[in-house]
Subunit: 318 residues, 4 copies
């Protein structure tokens, strides 16, 4: 573990120096207490879902509330999805580059097959390629064996295209099943994100061994605007800033992580990227704020004794 | 009654002094008129629902609009609920402590069984433990006898864990039945909150005796965001401030109470706590604003001749 | 007609002087053109629906989306409606008094029967008592005779209580039927409001004679918040101000009327009244803004040659 | 092509001079790079749908969520639609005139038949009359022949009234079918807008020849408020400004187009026109912002080698 930790620490140092150059030491370091390595006061991790091209007929969109009869191609809905590959991901990649941030991208296997250049561009930007299944469909109802095939096919496929093998998992609409964590462990995954119960990473025992849970959120998430209405970008910015202010304050005395999520065809729209751009600038004006990939965080916390252990799902994972 | 009133007055004095130290006298005292004991111009009472762990399969959440077939565990929805016990209640307890406020917590019996430490932490913070049924389920359709058992089991259970016996009641989704007030009276309850008809407490006759109604509101209530979208924290703050400004102004010539409500897994989110934190600061900048537990208020008003009597539901309660 | 016009002009002068004392002359008067008598640049008319107590089982409320089985009393929903009679109307009456404004109140007959003091308080405040049917139920599906009885019973009932006989009509959810205007004419009504097609009053021929249409709006209307969520009071204020700014500007070269609507249990909430209070202050800072009852306006425009005539519904009204 | 290009360039020059007089040169011209003719940094194109009068029974409106049984006239809903012809279009025409902007109007054939004066007023304002079908109904389910008749009847009808023959197409609710582009090509159309995949125009091969796609957006579109609630005009303004800021920035290094859409009875409301008025002023304060009709843009880009070619729908169009 020690070697791994050092490697990770090196990666982190680079990340930190990029973000915090010229800033004063964070409160924790000043106080001699530290809840994250390197004394960060708040770690922010961004998820970028790449799903476009993998969607099934009738998938959620501004059109799906008024669906066509099965078997008819919904031409404008298809074009709405394509936006993610034609504009959305690239716009977000520019945003991460501008701010020197690396994010975690959850890539559906079929999306990578359909748009390999997009998947490669994400990987080439230094971002984490995480797993999101081979296809965009339910997995909570699969048998153990079928679920394993479903996930394995996804990481094999995406690795063949991007050169990165996913070690973090995100299920379709977060709806993992009761076996999912065991399946992920068998496939050598490090963590999953389909849990909304905390504002910091924790470990849970799966067949007696630590498995990392990197909590996701529906709050700081463009998915609340999947219908394409009732959520303006200034509301999104207000949500991000007000959430940040509270977590940052709490970060002075406790380990805190802020999770943000953006989907190719939703978060990739100009006004949303604008809102997130403003948010990142705002966050970076605070000492001790660090943006990290989820695999980096998971590696850091997995065997850290300060990481909470939570076995709320013991009956499924033992 | 007189002894009780004195005791309560003592409690109130303490509360008042904490809030109003160094402030000038309120308008009422200056005018020689008073609508609340101690001359408060506006009394604010916060409800904090603790329900997590008591929810039935398919309970309302951001996932329930697209439910799983019965009998399947909705893993992310369950984790969404757990947030209330892992983060939400504790974050709110910190907020109340920071502002030296005591609130009323409506505790579902099964939530206290599942998370006794959370229930105890609430009680230990000086907050009122009020009743919310033994389980999170419909009670409007129960017989008198079954409803009595349902409520009694709840208060017995929560008392065994927290040491406090609930004397205020909140029904699931406010949906009490036609017998509920009689049942509550038989169980020695002092008040209930499942009424939206006024901005001040009132009494209603139940079998000829005064029973206190502490009106609740859907307006200043995080429950409007149970779907997890279409309501940003800046909107919540605007609602609270604009409601406060009006009620505070009215409080100069009339008894007024402002009711605010927060649920463990919704109001306990960072951005909502941030909004309420800002609101409390704002409210406290006004002279004569007092935050009180609902049992304190109910005791104060129960036999006060200035309290309105309203028998709109006479046919059910006589 | 001339006599009538003079009488109305006198009424208007009083209204104008109350609002516009000490203000400079409006643009129209300065330009020598006038689109309203007395040179007002914008006439604003407020509707205040009084319906509480007349609602049928399962009527729209924050609870009706999840209805109880027929035959069960929805106790919290009933209390939500009562708010209109206990708090809402009185709060709004105070607002109108504070600003010296007279509004048009659409009173459901059964609401007046249940809460006669509320109906009388409205009438005693100098407000117009307009008709809203005897009961809160569909009328679009009634025969001519039944519809006439439905409306007549309403005005007879409300007149007996308030002393005012309604001469303006508002149908339940605006859903008049194809005969409604003929029925209203037979009952000597002057105008109706169930039309959304213009931003100024117009006349339409009913059996060859002028009948006034006072357009209503769903935009500046608290009814958009009947579900009790997704609409914060700052949004309401923004809607009112931005609508006003545009209509006021247009009023310099055209006759314009702004219609605002508030329902007892919705618009009567503190935060909404606060928003409308702020709006009225804002509007009154502009020269030539006049608040008027709808009957006053209808009388003014009925035989004014500058009033547009619109016979879009000719086939129903000839 | 060269002759055409010159003609278009002349048109554009006029447009540019109107907008950019007295402004300094845009970044592109300064940098010696150009993504649009004349060095514009961002081209904005407004669509104005004229549909009122062509709507079928039960068409989407604030009333359609609670529909009347088939065969009953929904009187207030009909009046809500009429607003588009009585107020909405004329208010928008005034706005375009005030800012010297020409827009593209998608005109339903039956709307032009019912309100020929409105259609003529649009054409006489120098705006593009584009096609929107003969009637407001589904076309995705028509045979090739029926779809051709449906579209041809629309352009013939509208041309007879306005003197302009539509060369751009917008399908009902964007729901074109798999044959639509071939049909449009056969009818000599230049472009269609029912595609949401990009923030700039592109060409796609239809039977081997270039066909222009002028992407539309659901984001900067009043249609998100078709239900008449949950979207305030300040939100609309925030959406427009935040979208603009991002696209304008991107326009320094890439060709970018911003698409805005307004429907007669929705966008024509005072508060929305106010919001768009403020937006236009804001946009015009930036150097190199040009408002153009879609036919002008389509002609410019059709054979420009810098225009992206995208054959994502190859299987339908070959």
């Amino acid at each position: 573990m020690k070697t791994l930790y050092k490697t990770v620490a090196a990666i982190i140092l680079i990340t930190f120096s990029a973000c915090d150059a010229k800033k004063e030491l964070s409160n924790q370091i000043k106080n001699g207490k530290s809840y994250w390595p390197n004394g960060a006061q708040l770690v922010i991790s961004v998820s970028m879902q790449f799903e476009t091209g993998g969607q099934p007929e009738g998938a959620e969109s501004p059109f799906s509330g008024n669906p066509l009869p099965l078997g008819n191609v919904d031409m404008p809905a298809e074009s709405w999805f394509r936006y993610g590959a034609k504009e959305g991901v690239y716009r977000m990649l520019n945003l991460w580059k501008k701010h020197d941030i690396h994010v975690t991208s959850h890539v559906v296997g079929e999306a990578a097959i359909k748009y390999p250049d997009v998947a490669k561009a994400i990987a080439n930007g230094g971002h984490e390629i995480a797993a999101h299944g081979i296809a965009w469909k339910d997995q909570w109802n699969l048998s153990y064996k079928d679920e394993l095939d479903f996930i394995k096919k996804g990481i094999d496929t995406v690795e063949a295209i991007t050169g990165q093998r996913g070690r973090g998992y995100n299920a379709n609409w977060l709806r993992r099943g009761v076996n999912t964590l065991k399946v992920l462990q068998e496939l050598d995954f490090l963590y999953h994100i389909d849990d909304l119960s905390r504002d910091e990473p924790f470990v849970t025992k799966v067949r007696g061994k630590n498995f990392v849970v990197m909590p996701y959120t529906l709050r700081n998430n463009d998915i609340v605007n999947i219908e394409g209405k009732n959520w303006s970008p200034d509301q999104h910015l207000a949500q991000l800033k007000m959430e940040f202010d509270q977590l940052y304050k709490e970060g002075a005395t406790k380990r805190r992580m802020m999770s943000i999520s953006m989907h190719d065809r939703i978060g990739g729209a100009p006004a949303v990227v604008n809102a997130v751009d403003q948010f990142i600038k705002y966050a970076k004006e605070h000492t001790g704020v660090v943006f990290m990939r989820k695999d980096e965080i998971a590696n850091m916390v997995k065997d850290d004794p300060n990481t909470p252990e939570d076995n709320s799902e013991f009956k499924f994972n033992n």
